[in-house]
């Protein structure tokens, strides 16, 4: 199972800045291993951000997003104590969901 994400959500004025680090190889499918065999593509395809359970953003990613991806966005009207949930799904169907509290 995939390792946990690191989510930080901090209030900045009338919004909360959300910073997410995800643990993922993000293999492009264009590299070869030492024996010359192509390493198959393996990457996060979809990321969803929800605020107190209500979805606020969905992203589609390709394999050129960097390994151990970082994403930042800002949720309007989010206050301290609110919950921010981030979920991802990769091209092998693996999933991960983590939650953080806005501070």
């Amino acid at each position: 199972m995939a390792d946990p994400m690191r989510i930080r959500a901090q209030v900045a004025g009338d919004k909360a800045t959300v910073r997410v680090l995800m643990s993922h190889e993000m293999e492009t499918g264009q590299r070869k291993d030492s024996s010359g065999k192509a390493i198959p593509a393996w990457f996060i395809q979809e990321v969803t951000v929800a605020h107190n359970g209500a979805p606020v953003m969905t992203a589609q990613w390709g394999p050129s997003v960097s390994k151990n991806p970082f994403m930042q966005c800002a949720i309007k009207g989010a206050k301290a104590g609110d919950k921010v949930t981030v979920s991802w799904t990769d091209n092998k169907g693996d999933k991960r969901t983590d939650e953080a509290t806005v501070s």
Binding site: M1, K15, M26, T28, Q30, Q45, E46, T48, V49, A50, H51, G53, A54, P55, V56, M57, T58, A59, Q60, W61, G62, S64, V65, S66, K67, P69, F70, M71, Q72, C73, A74, I75, K76, G77, T85, S87, T89, N91, K95, R96, T97
Partner: protein, 152 residues
């Protein structure tokens, strides 16, 4: 603590809610947009995403360094000052496939996202904003990728 099954269920609910609320453009409700992620140019990506002809605009900003110390991790961002942006995209012109990431927004988030992308070589990077009516605006910036380390 949530179990894995609960998490999966929750995740499915989230996606379902997005669809039901009609907050997603047609393309995102379908599976991952393979056509857009295999396109080679800005025009083809936008076409695959269902947008009109892209026009350069001051209302869109692309952020990133002038020089990247390493192409494996290049911090880039897209933002727009225009009202009603439905989608922000980040493209790297000279990558094998141009589209790196696409963000479908609701009015609950700011039109301002940041991520990090791989760049095979120095290239133009595009930030693209798609509006509800299919209008497409973009900004472009060149980012130089340098070789580093001893290279052994």
């Amino acid at each position: 603590m949530q179990t894995r099954r609960e998490m999966l269920a929750h995740s499915a609910t989230v996606v379902g809610l997005l669809g039901a609320a009609g907050m997603l453009p047609a393309a995102a409700q379908a599976a991952w947009n393979e056509a857009a992620f295999s396109a080679k140019t800005l025009a083809d990506v936008v076409k695959a995403m269902g947008g009109g002809a892209p026009a350069e605009s001051k209302d869109v900003t692309v952020t990133g360094p002038d020089i990247a110390e390493n192409g494996a991790v290049v911090p880039v961002g897209a933002s727009s000052s225009a009202a009603g942006v439905k989608r922000l995209m980040l493209l790297v012109e000279k990558n094998p496939n141009a589209l790196a990431a696409s963000f479908d927004l609701t009015d609950k988030v700011e039109a301002n996202v940041t991520t990090r992308v791989k760049m095979g070589q120095s290239s133009n990077v595009y930030a693209v904003a798609m509006m509800g009516d299919g209008k497409v605006m973009y900004a472009v910036k060149e980012i130089k990728v340098t070789l580093g380390g001893c290279g052994g």
